[in-house]
């Protein structure tokens, strides 16, 4: 278990949150990271080949 606790120390959670202020936009760093990950996942979903796609074409 001890090594798990040292992992938790990588991201200190006992501090004030970090915020990005950009004009009218006000967002916590944590939320901003999630939004960026969603956008990257969306782009990846559009461009990564879907397994089995070619197999299906051969069958047609």
């Amino acid at each position: 278990m001890a090594y798990l606790w040292s992992l938790a120390a990588l991201i200190p959670l006992n501090n004030y949150g970090h915020y990005i202020h950009w004009g009218v936009i006000d967002v916590s760093v944590a939320n901003f990271i999630v939004v960026v990950l969603m956008i990257l996942t969306f782009i990846a979903a559009l461009f990564l080949p879907f397994p089995g796609r070619n197999r299906r074409k051969e069958n047609q």
Binding site: V34, T41, A44, A45, L46
Partner: protein
Amino acid sequence: MSTAEIERQWTTRLRKRVAGHLPPEKLLPDTQPAYVSSWIYVFGVTTIAALTMVILSGIILAIRGPQWWHSSSIGHFINSTHLWSVEIFFFAMIVHLWGKFFMAAWRGGRSLTWVTGVVTFLASVGTAFTGYVSQTNFDSQWISTQAKDGINATGVGSIFNVLNLGQMLMWHIVLLPLAAVLLTTIHVLLVRVKGVVPPFEDEKGATK
């Protein structure tokens, strides 16, 4: 009973309607059109999977109660499973809705599919919010005292009091999950009734 009488029964009428709109091969199809083999179509079912985990972990939290989830290590684990399943649920739902937005997936009489999606999203936001204020810790106290002025300013505070833990917990574990699951069921059945929306260039009358 005469045939006419049998035809008039609500059971007969309902069965015929369901069989017409949603025959078994449409309810549980074995193949999908070729354009469905893309990762973007995976996010609807990912959302269902995450929702299932949310409900299962929520049931365990309900069985054991707050003292357990605050103080035992298994309680912490199930509590975290509940939270992280919610994170995946919203993540997948939003990628799903972006996908449907850019496909204009409300085309061809599918507007109710889109609208049930929107309402499910709103119900889910409400479920998450009432969950945050039902934690029974300092975080939930902070969130509810921050939220009360906003909610009260809308007038909703007269029937929906975010400082009332009992009420918030009821909304979180009974009313809103019921609504979310019901809406999701209708949403997915509508997709089955209509079939997956074809790409723009495959629409009837489109020039190829």
